[in-house]
């Protein structure tokens, strides 16, 4: 049942991503991208990451897409004409992206057993032994709740990256204000 929902959400994500790329109007493309992000949030939920699913809806589908819509409406682009590149570009894209996709789709063959086998180099260990960390994280979530299971490692093992992120955000705020204010 859960697997079927996952496949449906995946199909919605892929379909709306295609529509996002092919829509002529940037506004319609942005709306289809929101659909992609919401279905990705559902997939995160099924993959056992409810906190990430919530942030996906709040930050991506909420904040970042509102920023995009603000800029699109601020620019007042009028009636959009087609902005697709020429035929040579299409050929290069289809060949290049097709080659890349055929390599990446090989990942679909991976399951827990194969992943464990390739990490350890032998087939002696079952996935439950190799991936004890994942099981430990699930138990931590059960004991401390969804937010507690994430916040513990975030403020202990990952404290330095977290603080660096705050400096990055400060730099982005100052940079965006300076860029948008100055008459270029």
């Amino acid at each position: 049942m859960t697997e079927n929902i996952f496949y449906v959400l995946g199909a919605i994500a892929i379909g709306s991503a295609l529509l996002c790329v092919l829509q002529r109007s940037p506004l319609a493309a942005a709306m289809w991208l929101v659909v992609t992000m919401l279905s990705l949030a559902g997939m995160f939920l099924i993959l056992g990451a409810p906190f990430i699913a919530a942030i996906q809806v709040l930050v991506y589908a909420g904040a970042i897409m509102v920023l995009f819509l603000f800029v699109i409406m601020l620019l007042n682009l009028g009636h959009p004409s087609s902005d697709l590149r020429g035929r040579a570009s299409w050929v290069v894209t289809l060949v290049g992206v097709g080659a890349m996709a055929s390599v990446l789709l090989g990942l679909a063959a991976y399951g827990p057993e194969r992943l464990a086998r390739e990490i350890t180099g032998t087939s002696d260990f079952p996935p439950s032994v190799v991936f004890a960390a994942g099981e430990g994280a699930r138990r931590a979530v059960e004991a401390q709740g969804v937010v507690g299971g994430i916040a513990g490692p975030l403020f202990e093992a990952y404290l330095v990256p977290f603080e660096v992120t705050s400096i990055l955000l400060l730099a982005a705020i100052v940079g965006a204000v300076v860029l948008a204010k100055r008459r270029v």
């Binding site: 996952f6 790329v21 993959l47 990430i52 290069v92 890349m100 399951g111 827990p112 992120t165």
Partner: protein
């Protein structure tokens, strides 16, 4: 444990994003395609976090922060370019071509 399907969907979404960056000339849509690629990578991180522990989910957290910062600065740059050339079409923005 959905690992293979999640990685396959992520691969397809990433490829669509790359194709969009290569095919479109509208700078805003190009930015959206970059966000799409970041989202595809996030899906990979979450799928593998089922096995590796909570580190993968935290990496998604950091990717989202960087994406937000990148979108804010990038869109400010697009606004500046639009003021200069009255267009977001990359064909008309050839100032750096020499």
């Amino acid at each position: 444990m959905l690992l293979g399907p999640a990685l396959a969907i992520s691969a397809i979404l990433f490829s669509i994003g790359v194709a969009g960056v290569l095919l479109r000339r509208n700078a805003i849509v190009l930015f959206m395609c970059i966000e799409l690629m970041l989202n595809a990578v996030n899906l990979t991180f979450v799928a593998l976090a089922q096995f590796h522990g909570v580190g993968g989910q935290l990496m998604v957290f950091f990717v989202m922060t960087v994406a937000a910062a990148e979108a804010a600065v990038g869109l400010a740059i697009i606004l500046g370019v639009f003021r200069h050339t009255k267009s977001v079409d990359l064909k008309t923005n050839t100032l750096l071509q020499g």
